[in-house]
């Protein structure tokens, strides 16, 4: 597995996430048997369809899930277990060790404080600086994320900024304490493509310059291809594939990853015919007992009725499919293999 030689910055072991059912309903198990690691400075994309558990995973890593959530397993962040450490310790780790960027910066920024004050507040949690030094650090951080005239912007309120600028402010805030890991949950989905391109370039550059690792949660495989080194694919609450990004794109080993790649219109071979995966995702209350993808899988066989394990198939690749060795699957470019 990638990062095995170096000590990983994040080591998630057997993580499961469920929610207590409402009014006597049974608890729903949302995320199951989650195991993965992120090496220092590594950029990892977490992809999968709507509802597969990407965001709840991100929130669990930050320990931001609501009280109704039931969490099992370990979330080792630089050796400390985020699932069990004390509230005081959590506060010390958030910002300094781990930070998060959300899709909607407006929901994370406070409308009544200037953007400068808000970033300064985040800095103050971890460092004791003079007012003047604090201001300088914040202005430098705003400049780092490409905000023009940062001295003036310091005193502006969130509503005075465009969506792209607000997202830059969020990134500046996430980076101010130089965390080891940033979780970015759909950070560009609400933005236009030309602005998205600016933000992606920025995140990649900052991660390269500062050595911050990134966990990029998205449903956009293009974003992952252009910014990440590794791609983790989730389906129905489980990791089904974990591979270096180019390998995953060229020669996926799980039928779901392959189906997802083939569904992208760009790569349909027959002009005018769109590929798709038949059927739909099972709901959390009605998961198949065997392979969760089996009802939609063209390759399903008897062996698939048993629960599937995420197994190593190469030094840096894992897949959750017994039949992975029985077929060669199409990737983003049909017929080509890595």
């Amino acid at each position: 597995m990638t990062g095995a030689a170096i000590r990983p910055i994040l080591d998630v072991r057997d993580l499961s996430i469920g929610f207590r059912g409402r009014r006597g309903q049974p608890a729903l198990n949302i995320v199951h048997d989650l195991n993965f690691r992120i090496a220092p400075g590594e950029r990892v994309g977490l992809v999968g369809e709507s509802g597969c558990g990407k965001s709840v995973t991100g929130l669990a890593l930050m320990r931001l899930l609501p009280g109704a959530a039931q969490i099992g397993g370990q979330i080792l962040l630089d050796g400390k277990d985020m699932a069990t450490v004390s509230q005081g310790e959590i506060r010390r780790m958030r910002g300094k060790k781990i930070a998060m960027i959300f899709q909607e910066p407006m929901s994370a920024l406070d409308p009544v404080f200037t953007v400068g004050e808000q970033i300064a507040e985040a800095l103050r949690l971890h460092e004791n600086l003079s007012k003047a030094d604090e201001r300088d650090r914040v202005i430098a951080a705003l400049a780092d994320v490409g905000i023009p005239a940062p001295k003036r912007r310091y005193d502006e309120y969130p509503h005075q900024l465009s969506g792209g600028m607000r997202q830059r402010v969020m990134i500046a805030m996430a980076l101010i304490n130089r965390p080891d890991l940033i979780i970015a949950d759909e950070p560009t989905t609400a933005l236009d493509v030309t602005i998205q391109a600016q933000i992606m370039d920025l995140l990649t550059r900052l991660s390269e310059d500062t050595g911050t690792a990134l966990l990029f949660i998205t449903h956009d495989l293009g974003v992952v291809a252009e910014t990440c080194q590794r791609m983790i694919t989730m389906y129905a609450g489980e990791i089904v594939e974990d591979a270096p990004v180019d390998d995953a794109l060229l020669s996926p080993r799980h039928p779901y990853t392959s189906g997802l790649l083939r569904s992208l219109p760009h790569f349909n071979m027959e002009k005018g015919r769109f590929a798709h995966i038949p059927g739909r995702v099972p709901s959390p209350g009605a998961m198949p007992t065997g392979c969760r993808f089996a009802p939609r899988c063209a390759h399903a066989a008897d062996a698939c009725t048993a629960p599937q394990e995420l197994r190593d198939i190469a030094a840096d690749r894992r897949v959750r499919c017994v039949r992975a060795d029985d077929f060669v699957l199409d990737g983003a470019v049909a017929g080509e293999t890595a």
Binding site: V193, Q196, A197, G222, L249, H266, G272, F274
Partner: protein, 335 residues
């Protein structure tokens, strides 16, 4: 050439801004035809006026100025009654599969509703027609007794398509119709749109953020920027040889799900923000972000020129072969 389904000239649509102090020029002087049976794709950034154009095409919004001809009739010359009969041939499907479905109505009632509004049919006839439409979009007849919450997003979007079919549409405006659906099932719905078009000869105005979807489904593509068309041409021309700098930037910004060695397209990163449509830049509206901008671009509005057959562009510097090489790569100040 056959007569267009809709012919739009110098269309302007303005809205009062939120505080009432100014006007948003949502659409500001746009001209185009939609041809029978074609798919007319529309791409462009958020707030550039795509939905406003679409809503005007189906009569949900009235133009502030400009002319629109439906078939051979000028809209302004039609009586109210004439417009009411004509209008049903122009229909719209939205991004949110729930938008047009009443949660308390059965699918059958939702399906017959547009026919009831159009009038002139018996109840039995409407029901038969509705059930036939349901089959046409690939749903079983017994789905008609269900309620919207019992259907998946993709199934609801099929119902929305089935709703407009009985009105013999000549044009359906499809506004981000697959954006709310999961990638793995989008293809199913897009194929259905294709099949219905082959079958019924209906034209689509296909509005979407996702350029690769639009490229795959459209015969022609229009590119919008701040309330105007900056380019309009055949799909191959727009995708393979774009003429306008903004189109070049838009296409190059779309992230490609390809491994490094196959991503040959060079990224042209634009600097700066999208200006506000309440206060658009002078001259060429793109000049504040355009790497090719010269002083003329800030003062003169570019003409809407047909540089190649059926391929128009609004840019002072565009040539038949695309943009000339960049003079000096000075970064544009973006404040």
């Amino acid at each position: 050439m056959t007569r267009p389904v809709v012919s739009v000239r110098d269309l302007v649509v303005r809205f009062p801004s939120l505080d009432g102090s100014s006007e948003v020029r949502a659409v500001d002087g746009v001209s185009f035809d939609i041809r029978p049976g074609e798919t007319f794709g529309v791409i462009g950034e958020s707030g550039s006026g795509k939905s406003t154009v679409g809503r005007t095409l189906v009569g949900l919004l009235a133009p502030t100025s400009g002319t629109m001809a439906f078939g051979d009739r000028d809209r302004a010359a039609m009586t109210r009654a004439e417009w009411r009969t004509e209008r049903r041939h122009y229909q719209m499907i939205f991004q949110d599969p729930n938008a047009a479905l009443n949660p308390r109505m059965t699918i059958l009632d939702s399906l017959t509703e547009p026919m009831r509004i159009a009038g002139g049919r018996s109840k039995a006839d409407m029901q038969d027609t509705a059930l036939a439409a349901l089959e046409k979009v690939g749903l079983r007849r017994d789905m008609a007794q269900r309620y919207p919450h019992e259907l998946s997003g993709g199934q609801k979007q099929r119902v929305n398509i089935a709703r407009v079919l009985p009105l013999s549409p000549r044009l359906i405006v499809c506004d981000e119709v697959v954006a709310a659906l999961d990638v793995s099932i989008r293809g199913e719905i897009l194929n259905l749109f294709k099949e219905l078009q082959d079958d019924l000869g209906v034209a689509y105005a296909f509005i979407a953020h996702d350029i690769s979807v639009v490229a795959q489904i459209s015969d022609r593509i229009a590119v919008t920027y701040l309330g105007q068309f900056v380019e309009l041409g055949p799909t191959e021309g727009i995708i393979d040889d774009p003429l306008h700098p903004y189109t070049v930037a838009l296409l190059s910004a779309e992230p490609q799900p390809l491994p490094t060695h196959l991503r040959h397209r060079r990224r042209m990163t634009l600097e700066g923000d999208i200006p506000s449509p309440a206060n658009p830049p002078s001259g060429c509206r793109f000049h504040t972000r355009c790497p090719w901008a010269t002083p003329d671009c800030a003062s003169l509005e570019p003409e809407w020129r047909e540089l190649k057959p059926d391929h128009r562009v609004a840019c002072h510097h565009a040539t038949e072969k695309g943009m000339p090489p960049l003079p000096v790569r000075e970064s544009v100040s973006s404040d």
